[in-house]
Symmetry: C2
Subunit: 141 residues, 2 copies
Amino acid sequence: MDTAGLEILGEEECLRLLADVPVGRIVYIDRALPAIQPVNFVVHGQSVVIRTAARSRLAIAATGTVVAFEVDEFNDNCVRHGWSVVAVGRAGQVTDDQELASVRQRGLRPWAPGTREYYLRVDIEIISGRRLRHADAPAGP
Amino acid sequence: MDTAGLEILGEEECLRLLADVPVGRIVYIDRALPAIQPVNFVVHGQSVVIRTAARSRLAIAATGTVVAFEVDEFNDNCVRHGWSVVAVGRAGQVTDDQELASVRQRGLRPWAPGTREYYLRVDIEIISGRRLRHADAPAGP
């Protein structure tokens, strides 16, 4: 348990949960202000890979900086029951041809229309997670 | 539509969506790094109010700074269908007795055990939202 009374998740479980959800949120600093954007992604080795447009705010502001990447799941019927995982690491463009081919094979389909051929990779340096499970919440996975 | 092909939501709809979900994510800068934490909250006037502990990282790092507050909803069966809303504004502690009484009446129940008598208010200065609805996605609200 942490100081807030939440269950601390181990690294292995954090990585498992991260790989198990389709949508995450990338958190970065854009012009000195905190910014957040929901994205779909794939876990590729020890990295999270996102597909975006080269001229997007995300690509411009996040590339070369340390970002956070968050996933969570809360029970619709009981918000006092859920978990969240946050990975922190440096974000960089995938430029290596072999790596690009490998990432493309993972079938990362961009959400929005338009050319989105910028692959942003977040190398996970720290990953941490918490689970909230109240006595009045149903038992879950 | 924005440059990424997503539908831009109007301010009124953003506020309606914000008030309609139980869980959001507060995004702040903690020791020069982007940080994110899922929280429950209430919308109180033109503000979002979160209950936390006075000694939490959130209270310490976010108070007096500009933060982002994000809510979203993606269809479990079709991640290419959903919406997200981001509010940006300055965060400050609620200290006024009348305001505290009013916020407490809203029944903001803290998630985690322990003393959590620090009410952090984010005054919404900018709110924006996007909806993603693909041709192959089912029609939704």
